[in-house]
Amino acid sequence: MEVWRFLDLEEADGYWNMAVDEAIAKARGEERAPNTLRFYMWRPSAVIIGFFQSVEEEVDQEECKRQGIDIVRRISGGGAVLNSSGGVFTYTIVIGGDDPRIAGGIMESYRVLCGGLIEGLSILGLKAEFKPINDIVVKGRKISGNAQVRKYGVVLHHGTLLIDFDPHLMARVLRISEEKLRDKMLKEAEERVTTIRRELGREVSLREVRDAMFEGFKRALKVELVPGRLSRYEEELARELREKYSSPEWIYRR
């Protein structure tokens, strides 16, 4: 069976988390890293905006400052999310650009790579579905948002999985577009977003979520996941990239 590297749950700030993703992608593109699945958490909480978004348009910066929430721009497109510390589980897949699993086009590759979470959620007892373009839903409510970028000759695919969240905090720090609300005809975050805790109706430990997702990705991607760590080269790249991710030039570039 094909072997992938697995980087187990670590908790870090958003600049480091995004720097590590890009470092792995760059190293993978240079054939200096294997295909990789990574699990990670966020401390402090952070608002992550898509590559093409503007901080000013998406984020209440004063509120973030008051709450001690970082503002981070990622390298992939898509929309802003609040990755709260402890409440959001995140994962990254870095896979070679010529891999047959992603040969069916962009839409199909989202479906395939999101398969790990869907399988993992089913292990937890939840029936989840892929909802194009890039969401995973349970009973029609979004539980996971995902984003990809094609760069360095690889696909970097990352996404969130909500364990628990505070819709009021989300509503305070994210500016939701009027146009978008009208289109979806939904007003409240509670109506369109859900969490593992809410769906299971009980407390769920991070360990339980991690174990289910580990098994889910193994099955969906049909790979053996071997625990590993960042190479010295990747660590070095990540330290350099962290400078970029934490610089105002990058954060406020749009």
């Binding site: 093409f52 929309g79 984003a147 978008k180 749009r254």
Partner: protein, 96 residues
Amino acid sequence: MKRVGKAEFKVPGGKLIRARVEVVNGKVKFVRFTGDFFMTPEEDLEELENRLIGIEANPDGAREAVISYFKAKGTSIVGGTPEDFAHVLAMALRSA
């Protein structure tokens, strides 16, 4: 004299696209597209914005410029089309 305009458009079944423009003496001085769409290669958007600087601030002409840029580059866009970007820019110019 500087005029500014902006517009946003939620693509049905797709993503949100916003445009901000500055017009000076009837010419485009600045264009910025933002939103939750996906584009590969991502550098194409900035190149398009730069190429639009200096063109006549005419919504129809600007619309054509956007569409022909994306068609020529073969840019891959998820959550919108070249026509959607052209539409938002034309709206922003009309509001300027």
